[in-house]
Symmetry: D2
Subunit: 346 residues, 4 copies
């Protein structure tokens, strides 16, 4: 951390500030420009808030040089992390393809779709049981019933389950029932929830918040990891910008940036990013060539009658056709998608 001092600060004020910094266990190094003096803070400043020094009257600017995240930082963990999810892995050469409907609507629906998805080549099943809806009057999900239906679908297909957790009160049920807990965009900085899933060993799919910076996103991963759970997978799902012609703006650059800053796997969700089914293919393929470790795609057997988010769902046939392209593209990129036949456990 570097503190830029205001011009004309007295030596005694600098001395006093230096003492305050040193009292927090850091060493201080001086640096002088023609016009300005600087203080370099030497030591572990990871947990230190740069704003803390900003309030001092002699300080013009505080510049953080070191990254505030440790466990998620590639500098301290150069190899890519590979996270085991059920009998699959995400983060290595094989892409994880998570597919399924926005909401679990019935046992028949989810089992039917799960079979179609597996047939088409997905290796994880997603489906919302608890739904974060903007309106309290909209369908809120089948909740625990939905969770059971997902388990049935898993029993029938062998596909590991990914579903969203919105409340700390269901953590135990999720740990027992699901293979990966999804933390949604709106809860990315629900620190209480992050700490709770950090106390489990269940893999966590951490979606990027709608207006979260790269660093804030990694700090949320750090919350989970600092609590003891290293099984974190990032998910880029579009950010909020001025452009309203698409639901959100897919930030495809997030993939190489996260790969540079962190060792954690990252997947791309083109369905939520664009919010329209015709945008899914471009987003999915971009994710693969940008280096993502997987994709999350909404698929519904009857999009026009889906209980939520129908306009961004692919049909099983469209998904199947997309998967053929994704498989080839993965090979083009020196990777692969796990074959459906190798997934089935029963």
């Amino acid at each position: 951390m570097i503190i830029v001092l205001k011009q004309g600060v007295t030596a005694s004020a600098i001395k006093e500030l230096t003492n305050r910094i040193e009292s927090q266990g850091l060493a201080v190094s001086h640096f002088t420009d023609i016009k300005r003096e600087f203080l370099g803070l030497i030591g572990d400043t990871t947990g230190m808030d740069p704003h803390q020094w900003q309030a001092s009257p002699e300080v013009e600017q505080v510049i953080r040089v070191a990254d505030p995240y440790k466990r998620a930082n590639r500098k301290f963990h150069p190899q890519n992390s590979i996270v085991s999810v059920g009998d699959q892995t995400i983060g290595g050469d094989r892409l994880g393809i998570i597919a399924g409907p926005c909401s679990v609507e019935s046992e028949e629906q989810i089992v039917t779709i799960a079979k179609q998805l597996k047939q088409a080549g997905a290796n994880f099943l997603r489906g919302g049981a608890f739904k974060p809806r903007t309106s309290p009057y909209s369908f809120q999900g089948l909740e625990l019933e939905g969770l059971k239906m997902l388990q049935t679908a898993k029993a029938e297909t062998g596909l590991p389950i990914v579903t969203e957790l919105m409340s700390t009160k269901w953590v135990d049920q999720f740990v027992e029932s699901v293979d990966m807990i999804q933390i949604g965009a709106r809860n990315m900085q629900n620190f209480d929830l992050l700490k709770e899933v950090g106390r489990t060993q269940t893999p966590v799919l951490l979606k990027r918040g709608l207006s979260a910076t790269y660093k804030e996103w990694l700090m949320s991963a750090e919350y989970i990891m600092a609590a003891g759970n290293d099984n974190v997978i990032l998910c880029e799902r579009g950010i909020r910008t001025f452009e309203t012609g698409t639901r959100n703006t897919l930030d495809i650059q997030a993939v190489p940036v996260m790969k540079e800053l962190s060792h954690l796997p990252i997947i791309v969700d083109p369905s939520h990013a664009g919010g329209m089914s015709y945008l899914v293919e471009a987003g999915a393929k971009s994710g693969v060539v940008a280096g993502a470790d997987g994709l999350m795609i909404e698929v519904h057997n009857d999009p026009a009658n889906a209980w939520s988010d129908g306009e961004q769902c692919l049909t099983p046939d469209e998904f199947s056709s997309l998967m053929e392209k994704i498989r080839s593209l993965a090979i083009f990129e020196g990777r692969s998608v796990a074959e459906a036949s190798t997934i089935l456990t029963n």
Copy 2:
């Protein structure tokens, strides 16, 4: 809700779509342009997701005309709501001035500041006991200990207490201990938490999310109200934009917009918006002349040594000086700030 049909859609497709709409208890009205056909949905579409119809292949566009919020909507509640908080009210002629430090640091600190604030004319005390920090390595608040210190400060000064709730597990303690529960910007769409505070009758200060639209913000208020708690006060605290020269961009227009759309009281928090103490006065005064029902201002006895957010805190003297201006400005606006002497209960 109006559905714009694609050009060239067949009569039978329109008939089928009409049937589907009618099966949800709505009537349908036709409307024809030279080039296009439209369907008007007649009935209560409040809980209906416009996206539901977007997935149908014959649909070009779905336009919501009615507002998706009811209880928070001024159309159905033309008078301004006035919310009682402790022995005070927010929403009428008298402005509510909520002041205090970012974090409760010790009993002595919070009691001392509370006395100074009351002296200067604040009528509510704020102070963080549970802190939503970006980093897991930063100070997370004194938690329940902090809550007790706030109660001591209230006992000494009579000032009602406002503090942030981050977890459903402390709802009962908050209901017992505090006069107003703050829901922070990062939790504005933590629907689980909104439902829980909605089940209480404790007033809720609902901060706007960093990238929340006006409608999303009102829908979050609607969550609380739909669960049974009408005592909601909105708080504009800056939004995230491309501009990084200030911490956030204070959206002063939010005040008249919310007054137009809703009957709920709204206050302004200039401290978090700008993130720098020299910006507080302009933001606070703008809030008053824009029609806000109160202000929330961070004050710390020793900003340079505050445990968090020091650079945006006023000193008690600065706050006292600001309050003189705010009092005059309130009168200029045909309102007033409650006198300190009328607040003290003991």
Copy 3:
């Protein structure tokens, strides 16, 4: 400028980089942390692009400490600038109130409105002769004819004229005909146009670009000043954000920030910011209490039939009523609005 070197950079690479910096006439100072080395660039780096050094393989980060603007910088010009516009001034104790219709529509219209505005207390007349319209099929302004009508209105009322210049080819006509040249938001980084108006001595009203940062805005002022014209007045008119409930988001904090960074006068345009007439009062009053040196307000005799931007126009009566409040508020702030009677020259 501080260059943060990557960890593990060799001494010879540092030496080579140091030589390259010194070859540009700067001195270099070293600074060492436990983990990192830094280079401080000593000398005038105002015109230097920090990105220039970023491309070097040994560089992790380049931090600009000095401001890139000189002439607009308050550090080198501590007193507020006061700009003379016609027989008025902007930037001192008296607020400049610029009012008028979006477009000049006819001589009768502009003369009539000008008289009403003067009566109500405006001290400048605005009106668009050249209109920057999003659509090529929309009315583009009366162009030079409109300019003549503005001059007629000035002859009748004495009000100095402010109007937008969009093309370098009309610079001479504008210098002859108008009292202040407006550079619109869309042209804020039309550097060619900035240089041309910089070669005149006509005051320039520089509107902030829709997505311009504070520093970019000041750099555009710097373009005008560097070309020889110090008569620059800034105008905050709303920025583009994710919020579409208002046309733009009025960044009221821009006023105190610009006052801190620069000595140039700044005014606020609440009409374009909000895009709706009911938002004008809140924005205008916020501008005054935030410290702005003036306001720009759209007024039309018949908003429902205005050729452009009718929904954000006040009627002359509404404007007159607003002006009463603005006059009192200016006095509250220790300033004033020039009386109409003192303005008339004939």
Copy 4:
């Protein structure tokens, strides 16, 4: 266009509004909901500003249903446009690869790079002669000298030239000297400049403005086309968002969206979007799989000593290596990149 009337509007007010609409040559159709009345405007509303009606007191909301752009609209021109640029084309099966340095620095530099680019497989040469720099103190380009150097490079390699035009005063020289005129992001709504290039037949590369919506971007294309020049190629180069970890956010979804809305070719510029060389590959490949008709990539023989934007430049070797991947990826997508050997004219 649909006008939603306020509740309780009188029949006579509706009649009066209807008359006003009809007086503009449109027919009006009524439509009634339980709570509201609507007016449908029938006829050509392309040039009509929806805001025009918003100012009427009886109007609650105005909804534009028809697109405001005609010539750029795919609905009226279903086939993809193919634009001839020099002896090449952009918009068909073969991708256009535009490469070169940010600034032309010397004849030797540009000729050397041009040869390397051609060798690597580029089919167009770019290089800035007039530079839009944020600071007036930064290098502004070699101007007409630079233009001559580009022509020399073309003479040596046969590569058609693309370079940015910032001022209407150089239009004639550009028409004579260059194969494609680039309009930069900052000038996307410099309507004067758009009209001038619209009067030529030289192909125009229209970069998206930093905060331009899809519709505004198309309206700027419409300006050029309405003036008579249909040879417009769009270029996505990143938009400004809250994220500052990259220079801009590459909006990869813009490619399929523009393909849906318009028949114009679109290319992607990953160099300016990310602002860092390590992000170029991901952006370029994403562009290809998202369906772009070409790429624009910055290449410099010595990035660390480039006069501008060095940190985002590839070296010729890196570019050559990227081109191998792009060629394969183009084939994967059923397209191709023109071979270097087929380009050379001499």
